[in-house]
Amino acid sequence: MKKLLTVAAALLFSVLVFAQAYTGGIKGTVVSRAGRVPVSGAEMVLSQDGRQLAEITSGSEGQFLIEGLADGVYQLKVTADEFSDLTVFVTVDKGFVKDLIFVSLTPSASIQEADESNYAEFDMEDSGYSDAPTLLLGSNDVYTNIAGFGFSSIRFKNRGYNSETQDVYLAGVKMNDAITGYSPFSLWSGLNEAMRSKDTTIGLETADAGLGGFNGVTDIHAVPLSVRTGWRFSALSNSALYRMRLMASYASGENNGWSYAFNASLRVGGNDWIEGVYYRSLAYYFGVTKRLDDAGKLTLFTFATPGQRGAQNASTQEVYDLMGDNMYNSNWGYQDGKVRNSRVRHTFEPVTVLKYEYAPEDIPLTANATLLWRTGYNGYTALDWYDAMDPRPDYYRNLPSYYYMEDEDYNRVNQDKYDWTYYAWTHRGPEYNNYQHLNWDRLYNVNYNNPDGRSKYALEERHVDQNDLQFAANAKYRVSEDLVVKGGVDLRANRTENYKKMNDLLGGQYFLNIDSFAERDFAANEALLQNDLNYYLAHGTAEKIKKGGKYGYDYLAQIRVADLWGNASYKLGALTANLGAKVGVTAFWRDGLVRKGLFAGANPDGSHIYTTDINGLQVDLTNLSNGQTSYGKSEKAKFLTYAAKASVAYDLFGNSRVSANVGFFNDAPTFNNSFISPRTRNTIVGNLTTQKTLSADVNYQIASEWVSARVTGFYTKIMDQTDVMSFYDDSQQSFTNFAMTGIDQRHMGVELGVKVPLPLKGLSISGVVSLGEYIYTSTPHMVQTVDNSAEVVRDDEVTYWQQHPVYVPVSYTADGVPVFDENLDGSFKVDHYQKHYVPSTPQFASELALNYRTNSYWFFELNGQYFDRAYLDMNPLYRTTFAARGSESNPAVIDYLAGQEKFAPAFLLNASAGKSWSIQRKYYLGFSLNVNNILNNRNVKTGGYEQTRLISSVGKDRYYRFDPKYFYMQGANYMLNIYFRF
């Protein structure tokens, strides 16, 4: 009887595509991968070569049937609430109805709510480091599905790769940031519904949108037809990100050739753990598609996420211990009794896209052409001060350790001052707030004290405002049943203005546009202090900056990219081979919009610029610039880029497959790593060259009734990377720039994902393991320059970057001084060499999860995660022979300075539960609840960096480090989401 009912239901949830006499078809049952529970109401879209043929919804038992299909390859896309989208390719052959048996969807209630805002904005201050998270979302791959979202709390980077290695496409256009290369998820953060539909590849796999690199491709469709039809409302509350998110979306589906969709959300509030962090962000998306004829569709859509968010910064462990809180954030303080964050990102970067899709019925061809324009602003506030005390509460001179340390060699011996300062940090109450947090009231009062209204403290807003125009066209042509070729062209013109804007004068009337660092060294010549020399020469005085005015620096990053790519895929029986290549040109230059006094250069006609100094003597500013200039166009950096990929895959019995990929990439360096000091001058890093990457992987996948699994071994060698850092160097007593070239890395390891249904229906167990070794493999070259001078102050190798020698004492003197064994030539005997690791991600990550899903649409998951072998970001200064002063007599100095901190391993326990209701098969209501870090572990380091400062010993015979700064994972937190759809 039950079987009969099932067949009857199947007839209800079936569709006949072609009325003519085709007998082929596709049938199956949509089930959850976790426990094989049927998924009813799943929406399926069948298409072939880009043309949509049918839409169908799965029945109450998950069943579906599509009939009337001619022989051929079809694409079936399945979407359902709380599951990742799934696209499967089905071959109908010899007029038979292909029985897929099970179409397994991967539960992803949490993933659907995840976006870039899952990652708190880490304020790296002026450390010179960067921290860009990577997101792996929307994949049905067992491993990626868990590692992508499940490991986000520890800021896991898959295979140790940086954000810029992950290619992210939107409607066929590569969206990685033109300046930094970072994946740009923040552009559509909060638009989860509009951006939900996507294709993802992992590792070296290619995609339809582009050849891709070695860290996968995410291609977000973003067109109205990819948005789930109907209305959807959701409300999300959580304690780790923003406080609340409200979201609404609607998609019309296709109606008389038109379709449209919108998505809007509001994210507000702070979180439970990090004070001062907050969101106040809107997000909107609107798109419309018109079918022009049987083959063509034209889509126009636009979106943006206007708003602001407060950032957290890192502090030293001393500060965290003093505050008794590893989530202390020194960015905020009280202003007239109200909490105010000094580091706030203000963004409004609308993206507008025009896309034409072409899929003729009579040719197995799909083609797309997309024009994309990104504009708007992206500002990030920071305190600025001139000739005034450093206002940061956790500035090192405000800490107890500045006054007393047990080791007398630090020459910090004043216990009384330590006690006073310790008291100020460790007592709670309003009277101590000004020692523990920013004292906004004092900043205002200092400004009030200046009778002419000159602000000594102000809030600047550092802008990176992009105008990004891109055109991408790609086509895919099925030459035969066995051969598919695809290719495309990508063109990009990016013009990004970098400048500072006055956000708030903090009670003052104006801020003077001069370089306070320069003033210390060049006080005798006012012209040299000018941030805008042209203004000074025209007016005889520095510009007084009012609220909203530009100051400091102002330059354009001009970037041009042209790429051509192609790929061919050939199938021979169970064997599939793939070959692809890309060639292109990247060019960029800096265009200075203001002339800085220190790097005046010459007039456009080549004549020199003169001024008079404090003694009335004429000074040739052009000669002082020493051939460097801040104004006008720099020389163009041009690079020929290319890439090649090859892969083979062999389908084995039992729905398993083995595959291997290999690729070589010759990529241009990014703009932000190509100029020594882009804020001050046009000078390009010496010996700038392309980054070369060789990558390969071998995979085994199985997707059977009893197990879904993938295991991959990978090897990647990245060569000739460049990195530019700017930081204050005590040895130079100045702000300096550190350009490192020739950085090589090697990433190799294995990753495993497996999911196994257990005998109890609805119950399954899953697990992932990522085990790698990501290390540095070269000794880079470094050139250090002072911001205020064209002079090179250091030109050397970063000797201990790749590794450092470790010496083990053989004995100790009576005074406790270590004694080391020596070689015959008098050098010390090396015990071993310690490798240095690529930082900021665990090199061992694992999860074991138990999933339970009932027929009544309840789901539960409990998982445990274990992370290990994460390392702290390294400061190159500590790895130079200069910093290792004193190692001639005490080789242990090298180990002390060059050693890399390894974070302690971490265990996390997380749980989630949810339920959905279908009401009259018309309304859908559901909720999900995630509770993360149930054990409330607040000692998990997720990142940080070494400070670039040195402490000289009493005898000036060696250096000590400054304490590093860390970011910690938040304690126990929840995310509750409910949605209503119809």
């Binding site: 004043n414 060049f522 006080a523 209501l925």
Partner: protein, 376 residues
Amino acid sequence: MKKTVIALFALVALVSCQSLKEEFQPVFTVKYSNPPAYERTVPATTHTISQLVSKYIPEKPMVINEDIVISGIVSTTDQPGNFYKSFFIQDETGGIEIKVGKNSLYNDYLPGQRVSVLCRDLTLGMYGYKTGNYGGMGMAQIGFSDPSGTYETSYLESQMIIDDHIFRGDVEGLVTPQVVTAASQLPDPKTATQATHPLVGSLVTIKGLKYAGETFVLLYLDSTKDKKSGTNRVFLSDSNGLGKFGKTHGITTWAMSENKMKEHLLAGDWDDAEVASGSEYLLDEEGKHVTLGHPMLKGDGSYPGVEKAAYSVSQYFTLGGTSVQVRTSGFCKFADVEIDPAVLKGEKTISVTGVINLYQGSIQITVNSLDDFVVE
């Protein structure tokens, strides 16, 4: 169903208003009001500066364990950079330096503002005292204890110490300098202190100062290394490195920024100056004294063995036969200002307004700004 949906959404909104953290404070993100100006109050004064300094015994810095409060008007500013991390206050009996230990103090302690100091737990000490025939008095200061023994006092530095001991009152008006026209008005640097002479530590205008044709500078080969070692020190003084310029060493500015120092160095102005201190000398491989012009320091002419940095300069003047040093910091904004050639030639005298300091038995004057030099 409508009620159910509304109830669930209301639940989420309600949950969002809760916090797991007791002291959670929402960030105010609309428009902040300007905080009010600070209200100023100072404790009642118990001692004059003179009375306080009279408690000092040379070479015996003392931690004050009484509730002594002194009060005065701020007479200096560190804005042009010639005072560093401290300021002077002055009452009718004299002036004293408060060693605060923060930069840009003029933003918080305005010239002309009343400042009171609660001296309990602070240290009264002296800088520049030296015994013997070539010694004399230094300057009594208020600071904090210095367990390292380097100086008699250290900076207060810790913000809580500062807030608990230094109190700001109203701005009452700039201090009027006392005028000195004769050497007899000047304190005896061998014996005077703020306790015995009202001009010590006070703002004065000394008129009729005549250039003495002599400068003093102490250079270091590497300031990150031991600054007390004779192998790291170079005295540009009357006994060393006279070279082509004699006792002036070619220095015609009030001080030297890094660039000005570099100019002199690269011009070879100081090639004859030996690296030495007392009886300790830097020697070359042959055991000879090393001068700045020695190949091991001069190299190819770029002087790789000598650190280029800003330096303070003492320019010597006289008033009726009494030597007065005008000491100026290399980091001040007028460091590289040329002294009027007519003054250098002795054709003109100058008047200088600044704070009188005593250092090892000599008189120094430290100005606030370039305007404090007036060619007569």
